[in-house]
Subunit: 154 residues, 4 copies
C-alpha cells in the first residue's frame, strides 16, 4: 500500500534541512515514521528513545527517521509550546512534525489517513514509498533493526 | 531543621481530603515530599513512578506521599492544564501541589524555601515536622524504604 | 516462630569472621537469610544481586546478610567447586553457607527445617531470633528496605 | 576472512539435527556464533538471553544461531555436567557446543582459532562462510538485528 502524504502544521528539528520532510523529497530512502503523543508513558519510556536511537545509529542518506506528534486527546495539554520543551528535555534530534488538526474530530489528519489506532505507532516505508510494516505499541529493537536491514538491501 | 511551609496555588488528587495537605494537618505522620517537573525525563522514568509506588504500598494514616510540581524552566510548557493530563496518563493518585510562582524569579516559592537545586528531589519529614533527608536525583528503592521504616518506628 | 539452626557443610566469605556464622553468634542482630541455587536464573539476575546490595549498603554490627546455597536439583552441576567460581564471578562478598545434604532426600537439611519451597527465598530474622518474614521469589527493594528499617528500630 | 572450523567435544540441543552443526553443513546460511562461559554474569544476563531470542525470532532455514562454550578459567567449575543443567534452567534451545580443551593452555581450540579475547563474543558469518562481524561484550539488539537483516539480503 502506498504511504499517504503527511499533513504537518509545524516542524521541529528540521531547520537545517533544505526543505521540510515529505514523502516526495525522501523518495529513495527507507523511512521509519514514528507517531507519538508527548504525554503517553509508553512513548516517553520506550517509543521516543527507540526512534532517537535508530536515528543516531542508523540514520543516513539511505534511511530517515521522522517523528509525528499525533495528539488525539488532552489537546490543550500538548500544544506545540509544550512539545518544544519536551523534545529539548528528551534530547530528540530527529525531525518531528505536528499532525494537522481536523475540525470537528479529535483525530488529526495524518493519523486518520494511516488508520493509526493509538500511540506509539511505528511505520516502515520502503524506498518506493510503500508501507511495509505498521505496528502499534512497543516494537522490539531486534525485530526493528532486522526489518530496516532487510528493507535497506532492496 | 524544621520543614518550611508549602506554598501551593492548586492541588490535584486532593479533592477527597477534608482539607488541602499541609505540614500542620499532617503533623504526626512521616511525609515523603517529592518534587518534580513533568517534562524532566528522570522524573518521568524514575522519580514519579517511585513516589507513586511508595504511596500505593506504604501510604497509611501514619505515612503520606506529597508531590510538588516545582517548575523552574519552560514555564509555558508545563502549565496546570498540561500537568493535569500528565498526572492522568501517568496514573498518579497521590496529592500533587503546584508550587507558587515568585514574581521576578524562575524558581517557585517552596523550591526556594527548601533550597532545592533541581528535580527530582526527595525530602523525608519526620513525625515532628523536621527534615531528615534531602536528596536530589534518583534515590534507590532499598535505601528509601529503609529510611521510611526507621522514621516510622520513632 | 523461632528460626531453626543452620546446617552448613562449608562456608565461603567467612574466613575473616572470628567463628562461622550461626544464629547464636549473631543474636542481637537483624538477619536477612537469603537462600538460592547458583543455576536459578531468578537468583542470578535478581536475588543474589539484591542480597549483595543489601549487605554492602546496610550491613553493620546491627544487621547481617547470610547466603545459603540450598541445592535441591541438579546436585552434580552445583558442587562447591562450581559455587566458589560463581561467587567470585558474581562478586558476592557476604558469607554463604552450603546447606547440608540429607541422605535419601534431594532437599538439604536447612531448607527442610525452614519449609522453603523454592529459590530464591528471603527470610528476615529479628534481634531475638524470631522469623518475621518468609518470602519465595523476587522481593521488591522498597518493601525489603522498609521491613529491615522497621526491624532495626525494635 | 573465512571463518575457522569449530572444534567441539560435545553438543547440546543438537540431537534432532541430521548431523552435528559445522560450517560445511550450514554453508548457505547466515550464522550467529555466540561464545560464552556459563558463569560469566554478562553472558547470563545479556548474551545468552539475546542469542536465544535471536534463535527463536529469526532462526530459519536461512539463518542459524550456534552457541559455543569457551571455558578459559575456572575449568573445574564449568564441566559439561554443569553446563547441561545451566542450559536447562536458562531455557536455551539453540545448539551449544563445548569448545575442545588444548593441552597446556587454558584457552580452548576454537577460541584460539578465532582470536577471541573474552566473553560474550558475537560473530556473524555470511552465506559464503566469511566473518563479517566480531564483537566482544554486549551487542545492542538494534544493531544485531540490522546486521542480520543486511546479511540475509545478500
Amino acid at each position: 500500500m502506498p504511504a499517504a502524504a503527511w499533513h504537518v502544521s509545524q516542524w521541529f528539528n528540521a531547520a537545517s534541512l533544505p526543505e521540510p520532510p515529505s514523502l516526495e523529497n525522501l523518495r529513495g530512502r527507507v523511512i521509519l515514521l514514528h507517531s507519538f503523543q508527548m504525554l503517553c508513558p509508553g512513548c516517553g519510556s520506550h517509543g521516543i528513545p527507540q526512534a532517537e536511537k535508530v536515528h543516531r545509529r542508523l540514520g543516513s542518506d539511505d534511511f530517515a527517521v521522522i517523528g509525528l506528534h499525533t495528539v488525539f486527546e488532552h489537546h490543550d495539554a500538548m500544544r506545540p509550546v509544550s512539545l518544544e520543551a519536551f523534545l529539548y528535555e528528551y534530547k530528540v534530534t530527529h525531525p518531528v512534525g505536528v499532525d494537522v488538526a481536523v475540525p470537528g474530530s479529535p483525530i488529526p489528519a495524518t493519523m486518520q489517513a494511516y488508520g493509526m489506532r493509538g500511540n506509539p505507532t511505528s511505520i516502515l516505508i520502503d524506498r518506493a514509498g510503500y508501507i511495509r510494516a505498521h505496528r502499534m505499541g512497543a516494537m522490539d529493537d531486534l525485530e526493528l533493526g532486522f526489518m530496516i536491514g532487510l528493507l535497506l538491501s532492496e
